[in-house]
């Protein structure tokens, strides 16, 4: 990666251990290395080691108790929707299956978000969706990053839904797009995210038509999902 700005010692430790946990090096029920071993391994102080473990604890990955160390929690307690956890998982997840899982979840909440956005009909938030769409159009002719503008479109829809609990899911979308674009390109030989489908979503929201917005979003995502699913079946599970 290019822009690798120096992060703090604590973050470094948390990121590496997080990746190792998500990668299966410390499976649920097992014990993480102790604080002293963390210090030794990273050449860090106990403060840094402890703060790193606190971060992992805050994301539901483990529980700590004196003498017992840090016990990795069961998968159901992991905060998979947390941006960091998502990133750590991405570092080790099986590409195609990972994409399918992400699309399945998006298929759930993004359709509802589009419907809510259409129902609320807030001018400025719809304008943000429109701007992102124009950025996508520009990107399709070489002006700007297609992944970023695509993500901006979907995030704008989430914001327009007017519901706080949709907002954290933008990290998932961002991850999904960053991950899926190169993979689907490899599978199909060309980008999948098409401008027309996004345009239909935008127009439905602009028209304030909830049902049509939900369907447009559903059609767009389910088509990608179906194509990835069949591709995975053909090429064998990744």
């Amino acid at each position: 990666m290019a822009g690798n700005q120096t992060s703090s010692v604590t973050d470094e430790i948390a990121n590496i251990l997080g990746r190792e946990i998500l990668g299966g090096l410390f499976p649920p029920g097992s014990t993480l290395i102790g604080e002293e071993e963390i210090c030794a391994r990273f050449g860090a102080s106990r403060s840094a080691a402890r703060e790193a473990v606190k971060i992992l604890w805050a994301k539901g990955l483990l529980v700590t108790r004196p003498r017992r160390g840090s016990r990795i929690r069961p998968l159901k307690d992991w905060n998979f929707l947390d941006p960091s956890v998502l990133g750590w998982l991405r570092a080790s997840a099986t590409p195609r299956h990972f994409i399918i899982e992400l699309l399945e979840v998006r298929l759930g909440f993004e359709c509802e978000a589009a419907a809510l956005a259409a129902g609320r009909n807030k001018a400025d938030e719809i304008a943000a969706i429109r701007e992102a769409f124009e950025a996508m159009r520009a990107a399709s002719s070489g002006q700007g990053d297609p992944v970023l503008s695509d993500a901006a479109f979907h995030e704008a829809v989430l914001a327009a839904a007017g519901n706080r609990f949709f907002l954290p899911l933008s990290a998932l979308i961002h991850t999904a797009l960053q991950y899926s674009v190169p993979t689907t390109n490899a599978l199909f030989g060309h980008p999948v995210g098409d401008l027309d489908a996004h345009g239909k979503v935008l127009r439905a929201i602009e028209a304030g038509d909830s049902a049509r917005a939900r369907k447009a979003m559903h059609d767009m995502l389910s088509e990608v999902l179906a194509r990835v699913r069949t591709a995975v079946e053909l090429t064998g599970a990744g």
Copy 2:
């Protein structure tokens, strides 16, 4: 509350500051009190104060920089789906609007989860849904906690979906039910979560009928949502 087990100093600080942030005492863009002030206020050491702030940082609530202190991040970066954040928000959220938001999100992903659960058709996971349903039936005649069994039903559906990214949403369901049962009782004079609707979901999943499972879940949640929405309109925004 009854079972108030002594929590650690760090957790105590994080919980109180978290509630204060979610409650609007430190709005986005403002700066949290500094480490030294935290120490003074809670009579704690800097280690405890710092670890508490790290927890809040890990949940997306703030960023810290030397000399600038802890700046509260914009709402879109808050991890509203995190169990702790959800709890802190619950402590100050306006009841009825809070319920509506939660139901809107549930309407999105739970329908899809039900459909996926029906499609996968894993015997043991469906058995867990059935057990939770039986627990609900028992609770309806006074045997056991109706909220817990209801939550168990929905969490079992999420687990049966076979997608890691649905799992963290069980915290939202748990919060929603704990919160909505007393409120809907107050609004309607009787519990809303009905056994029949859950039975339809269960049978559709048992039959492996994705479309029917999705519709059954949708009908169940949207009916509650519609009733709460009209009740809020009648009684005025909470």
